[in-house]
């Protein structure tokens, strides 16, 4: 058992123990290392000013992450590069020069984070186009420039070779972690066996992977003491893989992993994930984290329900598999015993293939198109028989205590032909079953209207109707 963590900051080894590991990386950089180029603006991973680069043990490249919600105990064995070190790189200096020449930095507070985020992009693209740059910078807010000059500076910057950043070669520290400091207690076991043992003995344990959610909760001072079990160190060679007809999603699989996996096979999913969150969040946030959080507006859940995802649970009593639909009982209430952990998600490849070939759409509507929590998310698929309606499957988020899952077939719907009547029936049936609430993201009336319109949009997008009804 080890009671300290090791990480590398700008190539320098840091061994940290005790209370200090319960700090966010941004505070450690600013307060303990005097690396004040990393700015903290929102403390909730929504603005990107605190972006730094991180390399984990299983990837070759660095990726941009939000350092404000990356607590140190989640960064064991990681390598971090900040803007100060990045500025020594001649390629980055070209980018910085273009920033100056294009007037892409006004007050300058967002700039270091943007430079770090773009460094991530330049590892993958030597001459990124406007679209790539926009997608890369979705999570970096700037209040001064109106972004156009940032876009110009980044478009101007082109390299012959993908950006290479130095790494330190080191041996991984593979012992389980157990760190205590007063009201804080952190475990990161190496095996499922250890993990389930801990959960059995401490059912109050909060389970985390990369802390994108808990990091925010902690920064908002909503909890003052905690006992955490991280699954980050449980060894799996791959974050997600195909096995026995299923896509297996492990607790380490990030949204970025899934987005990449889906990019060519299921572009619809990949597109939804594009507007789901910023690259910095997607590089850290896990799919299982989204599922286990159980928010009725969890953006991946409608898709996972639609794909007939199963949840594999593990405890000292063994494993069991349940449908994702049955995992949710009520608002943040789960079909999960106190001693159980989610081991993985299983998505049948067959349903994925059916969805991608058939009539299937994913929608998300929020106040701001990108990087915003949705007012409504809706997944819909339709099965046909002899070119007539057979079955509609809808999964709707943001309209009840959990993501709602409905299947309507000819027992529920009288109309068979595509047109106003069928749409109305499906939409009436759906509206009957949902009960959205009013909050700052939208009123109940608005959410109902959105659901109604998104159903219409589905028929329009799938070309069952030509006109906008």
């Amino acid at each position: 058992m080890q009671n300290s963590i090791t990480l590398w900051i700008n190539q320098e080894k840091h061994q940290i123990s005790g209370r200090d590991i319960f700090k966010p990386l941004s505070s450690y950089l600013r307060e303990d290392c005097q690396l004040t180029g990393t700015k903290v603006v929102c403390g909730e991973g929504d603005c990107g000013a605190c972006s730094v680069l991180m390399k984990d043990e299983c990837s070759e490249q660095y990726m941009a992450i939000n350092s404000c919600i990356a607590y140190l105990y989640g960064l064991h064995n990681k390598q971090i590069v900040t803007v100060e070190h990045l500025s020594l790189n001649p390629d980055i200096q070209k980018l910085q020069k273009n920033f100056v020449n294009c007037g892409a930095s006004q007050c300058g507070y967002c700039t270091p984070g943007i430079i770090c985020t773009l460094a991530d992009l330049y590892q993958k693209k030597t001459s990124p186009k406007s679209k790539h740059i926009k997608n890369a910078l979705t999570g970096n807010l700037c209040r001064c420039t109106g972004y156009e000059s940032i876009l110009e500076a980044a478009t101007k910057t082109k390299f012959k070779q993908p950006l290479r950043l130095e790494t330190v070669s080191h041996d991984l520290e593979k012992e389980s972690l157990d760190v205590v400091d007063n009201q804080y207690h952190f475990h990161a076991p190496q095996s499922w066996r250890e993990a389930i043992e801990l959960k059995k003995n401490h059912p109050e344990l909060k389970i985390v992977a990369n802390l994108t959610d808990l990091g925010v909760v902690l920064n908002k001072l909503k909890v003052s003491h905690y006992h955490i079990l991280s699954l980050q160190n449980i060894e799996t060679t791959q974050h997600l893989f195909e096995h026995e007809g299923n896509l297996v999603i492990t607790p380490a699989a990030t949204i970025h992993d899934v987005e990449e996996y889906c990019e060519n096979i299921y572009p619809e999913v990949s597109e939804l994930l594009r507007i789901f969150a910023s690259p910095q969040i997607k590089n850290r946030a896990t799919i299982i984290g989204n599922v286990a959080n159980g928010s009725p507006i969890g953006d991946t859940i409608p898709f996972l329900l639609m794909a007939k995802t199963q949840v594999k649970l593990i405890s000292s009593q063994g494993e069991r598999i349940i449908a994702l639909e049955d995992f949710y009982i009520d608002y943040k209430k789960f079909n999960l015993r106190p001693d159980e952990l989610i081991k993985c998600l299983l998505i049948p490849l067959e349903t994925l293939n059916e969805l991608s070939k058939g009539h299937f759409r994913l929608y998300k509507v929020s106040k701001r198109k990108d990087l915003d929590i949705s007012a409504v998310t809706l997944a819909m698929s339709l099965a046909l028989k002899n070119n007539q309606f057979q079955q509609a499957h809808l999964c709707v988020g943001g309209v009840g205590p959990v993501v709602m899952n409905f299947i309507f077939d000819s027992n529920d719907i009288s109309e068979k032909n595509f047109g106003k009547q069928l749409i109305k029936e499906i939409s009436d049936k759906t509206l009957e079953k949902i009960a959205p609430m009013s909050d700052h993201r939208g009123s109940a009336k608005y959410r109902n209207k959105l659901v109604e319109n998104l159903i219409k949009k589905f028929f329009y997008d799938e070309k069952f109707v030509q006109e906008v009804l």
């Binding site: 603006v41 403390g43 100056v100 007050c107 929608y363 701001r368 700052h440 319109n453 219409k456």
Partner: protein, 765 residues
């Protein structure tokens, strides 16, 4: 002449993370971290504090509240706000202050202070305030000398317009650090647009005279008006703790709290009647304008007044009755924000242009064109006659550049297609923004110029650099004036020891006022250097060892002397490098340093008659905006924004372009996605970027361009330039009116801003 491009000294350090903002200053040993304790009710009284959970914490140092100060009142205009509230006026009002050993513990401990309240019912909207007659001032009126006479053909349009507030969302939150040192001296490092006010308010808090308080500002991570008056309160709390504890103290607000406790753009409520001719010509406008001042006065009075000054925007209004009043509500005290009330005034008339067009079935562009200030219609509702007016030219040039007529046809066709899920809208709107502080005394500035014997220069003014490029612009103006390469000019940190009695860097006037003062100081030194150069030229050799030979340069010779390429030349063949001349000056006891004071001339306003000449000049421009709306979801995308701006002779086009685009996008946020929503108990529910959505990079117009309208007539201002900070903000309103165009909702009497997806979908269904 080819324009020189040189790098802004700051932006290079920004990209490397090297710029030092207040919280980046390395703490001294034993530095104290402060955090305010905030009320969790919107109205009532503090009955008692319970510190039992706090005092035992090893990180706790001290707790301060109203009982620790004698004179518990401050304010930028009148002292009506408490430093620590006993009688609570809004949710999140500062009621106490924790001093602790670490930044994290100061914030945690502040939340652990238990407060007992006596609660009262708050007023949370303008309408409620009107009903309960809760106001911060009496009604102010601009009434036209001639009354409108009824004409049977004229058309009247009545309605109500609700305009939402806006959070500044400067990226660097409010921050201050105060060092207490010997001689009862305070050194204050503050993220403020107004160091002089910080000095005054800290003096009020501590009872230490102004002379023993130094305020220094390196650089702000954004201000937008949010650090004009708001920074003083934070600095004063820091000063109090620093004096009481005799230690260096810092107070850095977390984003959530900064959002909840600092003032914002004023929401406005307009109740209006406009009368137009059948051709759409404005005959008469009556507006009852209410701004939501929040709990205290702050700067609400000049903000309301500027709202009234800009209700005409670019359009001539022959008869009018404009009444303005500030509602007092139990919300944060609203404050300056880019445009200072101007956008809320201009948004009304631009919205009305759209309504008039839709009512009379005229193209709103045509309505705007006939109402623009032109020819003999150049007098504003406050009696100022517009000089050098190019609004008609700007509008028609932009109409050509953006192919308005053919785009209009195209949009008509696209919108008639029932198989398209998109609805398009287009609108061309303008800006005419008055430049000068409306409080006359603020239109002054001073500068210090030190030339060193190695031929380099230090310049110091009261201007605060917050990203708007003011230090770069002043440097450029000095570089042109002195014929020196910019690298030789070093801009000093803004500090009240070098420049006292300064005005806030605000009202877009930073460059105008401070560069003018820098040139006045420069001129004094230049005159002495010309005497010296002239004296050398008489000697026919480059050395002047005997200062008794110094002579006054005659006027006809002065004209010939040129400062260029780091040299001084023009008399005969004598070329002396600037370095040589300055070193000579030093050896001969010629002063190389001077101070300049500038005040804006010819501006006045009579508060009794509500007429005058409040502005030195106007910055003008126009934009054509095209939007598309999804018929199913109400989501919008700005397709195109083409801007034409008259900034006289721009000091630096790159910087001005950045200001224009930044202002446009910031205003786009204001009219679309940025929404301040309060819970019934007065708590601001949208208080962080998760819930309050400012535009991100995906939201910018697909096509986005800025052109400059050439104009050499603005001799009233330094280097014939025009101010840029606020004027283009008013252009963002076009996103709102373009959406109106798409929705064709101009016949509705009640409209509200912003157009969120929800608001749009409401109009669609």
């Amino acid at each position: 002449m080819k324009k020189k491009i040189f790098a802004d000294e700051f932006s290079s350090s920004h990209t490397q993370g090297k710029t030092i903002y207040v919280d980046d200053i390395a703490p001294v040993v034993g530095e104290v971290h402060l955090y305010p304790v905030l009320s969790t009710i919107a109205k009532g009284k503090v009955a008692d504090f319970d510190l039992t959970q706090v005092e035992t914490d090893p990180n706790f140092i001290n707790f301060f509240s109203a009982k620790d100060i004698k004179d518990n009142a401050w304010g930028p205009m009148i002292a009506d706000q408490p430093f620590f509230a006993n009688k609570i006026q809004y949710y999140g009002e500062i009621i106490g202050l924790i001093a602790a050993k670490t930044p994290a513990s100061s914030r945690q401990l502040a939340k652990k202070v238990k407060v007992e309240y006596q609660e009262a019912k708050p007023i949370l909207s303008i309408q409620e305030a009107i009903k309960k007659k809760s106001f911060l001032c009496d009604t102010i009126s601009f009434i036209s000398p001639k009354k409108y006479k009824n004409n049977i053909d004229d058309v009247g349009i009545v309605g109500e317009f609700h305009i939402g507030g806006q959070e500044h969302f400067y990226l660097e939150t409010q921050a201050a650090r105060v060092t207490y040192s010997e001689g009862n001296h305070l050194k204050i490092e503050s993220s403020t647009q107004h160091p002089t006010e910080v000095q005054h308010i800290c003096s009020k808090m501590t009872n230490i005279p102004y002379s023993q308080i130094t305020v220094e500002v390196n650089k702000l991570g954004g201000g937008f008006g949010g650090k004009e008056s708001q920074a003083s309160h934070i600095a004063a709390l820091c000063a109090l703790a620093s004096v009481k504890l005799q230690k260096t103290c810092r107070l850095i607000l977390d984003r959530d709290e900064d959002f909840q406790i600092t003032g914002k753009r004023h929401p406005f409520y307009h109740k209006y009647k406009i009368i137009v001719s059948p051709a759409g010509q404005i005959r008469h406008l009556k507006v009852d304008m209410y701004s939501d001042g929040g709990a205290y006065l702050d700067l609400s009075l000049p903000i309301l007044q500027r709202g009234m000054f800009h209700v005409d925007n670019c359009y001539y209004i022959p008869h009018y009755e404009i009444n303005g009043r500030i509602a007092k509500t139990n919300k944060v005290s609203n404050t300056a924000f880019r445009g200072f009330g101007g956008p809320q005034g201009a948004a009304l008339i631009e919205m009305l242009m759209e309504r008039i067009g839709q009512h009379l079935e005229l193209d709103p562009y045509q309505v705007r064109q006939i109402n623009l200030y032109q020819k003999n219609k150049l007098t504003t509702p406050y009696g100022q006659k517009i000089k050098h007016n190019f609004l008609p030219e700007i509008f028609s040039d932009l109409a050509k550049k953006s192919a308005y007529q053919s785009q209009r046809k195209k949009i008509k066709k696209l919108n008639s297609d029932p198989t398209s899920e998109w609805l398009y809208g287009m609108s061309m709107t303008g800006t005419k923004f008055g430049i000068s502080f409306t409080a006359k005394f603020l239109n002054q500035g001073n500068a210090l110029i030190n030339i060193l014997p190695d031929g380099t220069m230090q310049a110091s003014t009261g201007a605060i650099e917050m990203g708007q490029g003011v230090s770069h612009k002043i440097r450029k103006i000095l570089s042109d004036y002195w014929g020196l390469t910019p690298e030789r000019i070093f801009m000093l940190k803004t500090n009240t020891e070098k420049n006292a009695n300064t005005s806030a860097t605000a009202a877009s006037s930073g460059t105008d006022i401070n560069a003018s003062a820098a040139l006045i100081a420069s001129e004094k030194i230049k005159n002495r250097l010309m005497d010296l150069y002239y004296s050398v030229s008489l000697l026919r050799k480059k050395e002047l060892m005997d200062e008794s030979k110094l002579k006054k340069c005659p006027k006809d010779k002065v004209k010939k002397i040129k400062f260029a390429n780091n040299t001084v030349q023009g008399l005969g063949k004598l070329v002396i490098s600037f370095q040589e001349l300055t070193s000579m000056a030093y050896m001969n006891r010629v002063s190389l340093c001077d101070y300049g004071h500038y005040k804006t001339e010819k501006i006045w306003f009579d508060d009794k008659t509500k007429r005058g000449n409040p502005f030195l000049y106007y910055s003008t421009g126009a934009v054509n905006t095209v939007v598309k709306i999804n018929k199913f979801t109400g989501e919008i995308k700005v397709q195109e924004a083409k801007i034409l701006m008259d900034l006289g002779r721009p000091v630096d086009e790159k910087i001005d372009r950045g200001q224009i685009m930044g202002a446009y996008i910031q205003a786009q946020g204001w009219v679309t996605t940025e929404e301040l929503i309060h819970r019934p108990d007065g708590f601001l529910a949208t208080h962080s970027p998760t819930t309050y959505k400012i535009p991100n990079i995906q939201d910018i117009p697909r096509k986005f361009s800025v052109d400059f309208f050439p104009n050499e007539t603005n001799t009233a201002n330094v280097a014939k330039s025009k101010a840029v900070g606020e004027p283009p903000f008013l252009l963002g309103t076009s996103v709102y009116t373009a959406i109106m165009d798409a929705l064709h909702c101009g016949k509705k009497n009640e409209l509200s801003l912003p157009f969120t997806g929800e608001n749009i979908l409401d109009h669609l269904s």
